[in-house]
Amino acid sequence: MRGGRLSSPRAGAILPLVVVIFALIAIWYLGAVALNAPQARDQLAEGAGFRDLVAQTWSMERPVLPAPHQIATELAESLFGRPITSPRSLVYHTWVTVSAALAGLALALALGLTLAIGIVHVRLLDRSLMPWVIASQTVPVLAIAPMVVVVLGNLGITGLVPKAAIAGYLAFFPITVGMVKGLRAPDPLQIDLLRTYDAGPVQVFSLLRWPASLGFLFPSLRIAVALALVGAIVAELPTGAQAGLGARLLAGSYYGQTVQIWAALLMASATSLLGLAVVSMVEALVARRRGGRL
């Protein structure tokens, strides 16, 4: 590649992304004009010019497509403009959802790791359970969310637990499948080496299988983080709009508050990306202790 030495590889990766994001924002503004124009025309007085129309489409209270700066304003206000404990604060709603997702993730990790260890070591589990775990990945598991919430609600269990249960249930499949793959990743020669040392199964696990599986754990965790968040959000729908990002989405859709929907959506996306970033950071830390590779 010519001229590659002038710009660092990092800048070369970021510039196109920045350009694409700016292009997207520009298209967004144009889209807002196009989509909101019919409504805006009704609100404007006769004889208003094109400039007025554009200004109107970018500042309506319930636009079909809110302009990016409207969402940014709403985000800033609901994040920083209100006390954190207020049910009008987006920080509060985000925390409600994130806590459920985190609890679910912890659950999924515990269950997924246990199952994976069992499947790798017990042939009966491998043959009987593993096919179901794989098959469940093709099933829209999220569909059971309303039922779980309702049933647990009947038992008097509400709040965090049902949401964490759904988030955990969703997140546990990728962790199990990934870890089974990871724990089986060592090649036969590496296992034979430990056999020549007469190492026991616990040693084989701690010295070989576990370290070898870490390269599979983090990619599965990334999927699990995203799924746990989706699970927590969807689990908030059937309870009616009480609290959480899902509730904000639902309330927004009830009352036609498009700006609020978009703000909640962007917040949810940002949270998901933050979760991924944390996983990647931990991965980088672990990798650094191994010379940069997992």
Binding site: A13, V19, I21, L142, A143, I233, L237, S272
Partner: protein, 308 residues
């Protein structure tokens, strides 16, 4: 004893299990003894099948395991008289399935035949075409790919309320959610697939003075197929999830997501479970069909070799 063919244990176990199920419903005899016999023999059967090779044994073990779970569910729910509104027994679910077959079919048609298929086709098709379109622009690729990866990790189902506002309550709004959900995985995977062809293979095409189009058609697209199928399979599941969850946000009086959310609120759990069964069947059958097609089309890929 453990060397007895596992299918004998399986037969004994199934008979005992059926007996126990019969008795637990009528209360005409002892339940515990046949139950324990069933559990023990079915366990031995699974153990026996798990030791054997061949497709029959590989199928029998999980099948028996599934049956045991269903049977345990049935026995426990009936035996301990678990309230219907908490967990209906599988037999009740099966009954509901048969009784509401027409309704279930209408829901399926609304959600799957309309929203899922239209959205999946459009989303995958658009993702594929855009991947081809940006193929010749490294700049766009480097901009759009991280974007696509980021968006794939976001909770996209959340756009459902927006799509409902834009496209109305009917299935097009659900299809729109599905389009957005399936577009990016296809874009990312197709792009990765188009980069799959090796340097030597490309040089070979160059030595034939083959142009961009010929190289794409004869080398890069075939080499990309495994990645494209990865996206197709992933999207099959995503599409169903997207359509069902989008219906939680509002829909006319039809659709699997609508059925699940409203009947759950009305405590008609047997119908909810029946709908979930339909969703599970639709998901796994679509996935299975795609996996089969993948096997036929990319039989040459290392992961399938030896079995063809």
């Amino acid at each position: 004893m453990r060397n007895a063919p596992p299918f004998i244990w399986a037969a004994i176990g199934l008979i005992a299990a059926g007996l126990a199920r019969h008795v637990v419903a009528d209360g005409t005899g002892p339940v515990l003894a046949p139950s324990l016999i069933a559990l023990l023999t079915l366990f031995l059967a699974m153990l026996g099948f798990a030791r054997r090779e061949g497709w029959a044994a590989r199928l029998a073990t999980p099948a028996l395991f599934g049956l045991v779970l269903l049977w345990l569910w049935e026995m426990l729910v009936i035996g301990f008289a678990v309230p219907f509104v908490l967990l209906p027994p599988p037999s009740a679910i099966a009954l509901a399935f048969i009784r509401h077959l027409a309704l279930l079919w209408q829901d399926f048609a609304q959600t799957y035949l309309h929203a899922v298929i239209a959205g999946y086709g459009l989303g995958c098709g658009a993702g594929f075409l855009v991947a081809l379109a940006i193929d010749r622009s490294p700049f766009l690729k480097r901009g759009l790919l991280p974007m696509g990866n980021m968006i794939s990790a976001m909770p996209i189902v959340g756009i459902a309320p927006i799509m409902v506002m834009w496209f109305g309550f009917e299935w097009p709004s659900k299809a729109a959610v599905v389009v957005v959900m399936t577009f990016f995985p296809m874009l990312v995977n197709t792009t990765a697939g188009l980069a799959e062809a090796g340097a030597i293979e490309r040089d070979l095409m160059r030595s034939y003075a083959a142009g961009y189009g010929v190289t794409l058609l004869k080398l890069r697209l075939p080499a990309a197929l495994p990645h494209i199928f990865t996206a197709l399979k992933l999207n099959a599941t995503l599409a169903l999830i997207g359509a069902v969850v989008a219906e939680f946000f509002g829909t006319p009086i039809l659709g699997m997501g609508f059925r699940i959310s409203t009947e759950a609120a009305k405590m008609n759990l047997d119908l909810v479970w029946a709908t979930i069964t339909v969703a599970a069947l639709a998901g796994s059958l679509s996935f299975g069909a795609l996996a089969l097609l993948e096997r036929l089309v990319t039989f040459w890929h290392p992961s399938f070799r030896g079995s063809s």
